[in-house]
Amino acid sequence: MFGLHYKIERSAIGLVTFIVLVASIGGLIEIAPLFTIDETVEQAPDMRVYTPLEVAGRNIYIREGCYACHSQMIRTLRDEVERYGPYSLAVESSYDHPQLWGSKRTGPDLARLGNKYSDAWHTVHLFNPRDVVPESKMPAYRWLLRDPLRTDDLGNHLSALRAVGVPYTDEQVANAALDAYGQANPETAAADGVAERYGSATNIRMFDGVSTRLTDMDALVAYLQVLGNLTDAAHQPNQPEAE
């Protein structure tokens, strides 16, 4: 064995080839099957896509680095299920490009945050967390209420998402900017279009409490309110017990 090595280490090409071969095996065996084995991701016929406003909110979540402190992955452990709700299923993040499972909980898990608090609570909390949770370490995101939301390129966002596999329809792509507006402005004609294209269960509200214009706050709160609510799969009784 060491004799063989004596030869390999005299050839740069040989060394390169061996390194690439030896290093590729693990990844191939662990990753490739995840795309092909059917049991990897559960079936969830009721799974819905993010609305354009929620996509924009998710991008704000990414932009501000919320994932650095909040996970979105409830593990199959009893205490986590009791604290946060049913453990996360693979299907729940199957439209998440990329996933935001996170690796650190400086703050609590957010996988099932949707509908846990009111929109008003979120707006106050994001504006200054210490107004509602005095001990909080979270930054105050005051600019979210100041900054208008950019919607003109949301159609491009949906087509890019469609290119990587999220099933948006042509109609959804074409109306992306309008739908973003409509979702935060109930009782407008635009709002009806949102319910039509994304289902009647979609949250259509003035998320930041102000109707006149769309802010980053509207989008982020809309996203937070849908977390864990894209499908009911995790609440079905046929899931195995947590450990």
Binding site: S24, P98, A140, D153, N156
Partner: protein
């Protein structure tokens, strides 16, 4: 720098810089309504600035052919300085984010100064800025000494070093503006990723071209590690960053993968960024500078072979230990755990090899703080890998995951291993790189050593404590079977540890500042009249393995 280049190389450089400027302009125009445009201006400024510098310097006399009898160390010199500067920036950002966790009001109502945007500035600043520059600078140095061949030309090393730093600047400035893919350690957006691939291909070519001209039949161990670092990082980087941009005028892109497949790809990448960036490359450093400084051959050549192939093979299986108890299929978690545990063998083979090399030179470790940095690094490498294999066990990970224990583990590796081996290696080559008889002050190295050691110990103990407390509080039940603590209870319990961690980080940062000062003062010392450093030329026998 320009005076080092031949006339033909200067023309090449100007073409490359011109092309870079045009790409920058195109980005600025296409992205005029987007943050991409700002990065376009930065790229344009880099290309144009370089071009103007060449216009002014292009008529300098050509270098004489004597240069071919010497190693080409100018890129290494700049790389050393950049390493130290990024170190101060990255660790400064680390201290800032540490303080934000103790005193969250330090964001001053500015978006760029919030925790989520500064944290990647810290992680990329230290890993890519500090660590990456150290790897590039030392790899050029080691490659030439162990092959007894000069770098193949005078332009590609500059392309790699400066191009890489352009990548780092785009990355860090992007985070402050809110541009990130959110994948840990792979945050930069698609155009930065493409640029890094270009830089990396040239880097690899330098390695192969120099090896092709080597005067030593065998490729020395240190180079195996540097090559594994270059090759595997390329594979990881390309696969994990596959994404579709929103448009060519937009900085934003969407990852090709989603959900569980994305998580596995990301942590296959993430764990092996640890393995091949923060471990393999730095092991390359250790295998050259530690024996050299100790004046002893590597203890065991066979152990280094076992260690090398063990690390190259097994690390790639271990990524799934970042995903225990998640929606990742159970069989992948089990594989990841098994390989992580066995990984301890090759890891300790390297740590042990380094320490056994020091047998018979312990008096030098006692007297020489530079060697002591490297010895301590090997010890911390052993500690961190032991801890890592332990944390990879599912039951242990159920406690440690998501807590500060991970952060403690990270910094035992990052401060104790990565930063210490870097400082030791840099100190050991700075005098010869600038042809000075010695460092400006050996005392200051001693001061730095103790600052670094105490900073690391304070940091790591604070995080071990807070992590274990946090993990236990989350899973403690009352007698009636309900959870004892709210989440916020655990957060309150962390406060004193966050202050202690910031203090440890401050000590470590002060040490880095001392290093910067010491190196700058060394460079400013008058050069000695006689060139005794002339011994360091391509004909001198390179360091050989024992056995």
């Amino acid at each position: 720098m320009i005076a080092d280049l031949t006339r033909a190389e200067r023309q090449w450089a100007m073409m490359i810089l011109g092309a870079l400027g045009i790409v920058g302009l195109a980005m600025a125009v296409a992205g005029r309504n987007d943050l991409l445009g700002i990065h376009g201006w930065i790229v344009l400024a880099a290309g144009l600035g370089g071009f103007i510098a060449f216009m002014r310097g292009k008529d300098a006399p050509e270098p004489s052919d004597d240069r071919l009898n010497e190693y080409y160390d100018a890129p290494t010199r700049l790389g050393i300085i950049l390493t130290l500067l990024w170190g101060v920036v990255g660790m400064g950002a680390g201290l800032w984010v540490a303080s934000l966790l103790a005193w969250p009001e330090l964001t001053f109502d500015a978006a760029w100064a919030s925790f989520g945007r500064l944290r990647p500035v810290h992680t990329s600043g230290v890993i890519f800025g500090f660590g990456g520059n150290a790897l590039i600078a030392t790899s050029f140095h080691v490659l030439q000494r162990t092959t007894r061949a000069r770098l193949p030309d005078q332009i590609s090393p500059w392309f790699v070093l400066l191009g890489y730093n352009l990548f780092c600047v785009i990355a860090a400035s992007g985070y402050l503006m809110g541009l990130t893919q959110s994948k840990e350690y792979a945050e930069p957006e698609w155009y930065a990723d493409i640029w890094l691939v270009v830089v990396w291909v040239v880097y690899f070519a330098i390695y192969m071209r120099t090896l092709a001209r080597r005067k030593e039949p065998h490729i020395y161990v240190a180079n195996w590690y540097y090559m594994a670092f270059i090759l595997v990082v390329a594979i990881l980087h390309i696969v994990n960053n596959l994404a579709v941009p929103v448009s060519f005028g937009s900085a934003k892109s969407y990852s090709l993968f989603s959900g569980v497949q994305d998580a596995m790809t990301q942590w296959w990448y993430g764990h092996n960024a640890v393995a091949f960036f923060l471990t393999a490359g730095f092991l390359g450093m250790m295998y050259y500078y530690l024996p050299k400084r100790a004046g002893r051959p590597i203890f065991s050549y066979r152990m280094s072979i076992i260690s090398f192939w063990g690390i190259t093979f097994m690390y790639m299986w271990a990524g799934s230990h970042h995903l225990h108890y998640t929606a990742l299929p159970h069989w992948v978690q089990t594989l990841g755990m098994a390989f992580s545990v066995v990984l301890l063998v090759p890891s300790w083979a390297s740590a042990g090899n380094a320490l056994l090399t020091l047998n018979g030179a312990w008096h030098k470790v006692r007297d020489d703080a530079v060697l002591r940095f490297m010895a301590l690094a090997a010890i911390f490498y052993g500690i961190t890998t032991f801890e890592g294999s332990f944390m990879a066990i599912r039951a242990v990970n159920s406690l440690s995951h998501y807590t500060d224990w991970t952060i403690g583990h990270v910094h035992a590796g990052a401060l104790g291993w990565v930063a210490m081996i870097t400082f030791g290696s840099l100190y050991s080559i700075v005098p010869s790189m600038w042809k000075r008889p010695s460092l400006y002050s050996a005392k200051l190295v001693e001061v730095h050593f103790w600052l670094a050691l105490s900073g690391t110990v304070v940091y790591v103990f604070a995080m071990w404590n807070s992590g274990v407390i946090q993990g236990l509080m989350w899973r403690t039940y009352t007698e009636s079977g309900t959870l004892s603590y709210s989440f916020i209870d655990s957060l309150v319990a962390m406060h004193p540890y966050y202050i202690a961690r910031a203090f440890g980080g401050l000590l470590f940062l002060l040490g880095a500042l001392v290093a910067l000062y010491n190196v700058v003062m060394t460079i400013r010392m008058p050069a000695p009249a006689t060139e005794d450093a002339a011994l360091d030329i391509p004909v001198q026998p390179a360091l050989q393995a024992g056995e």
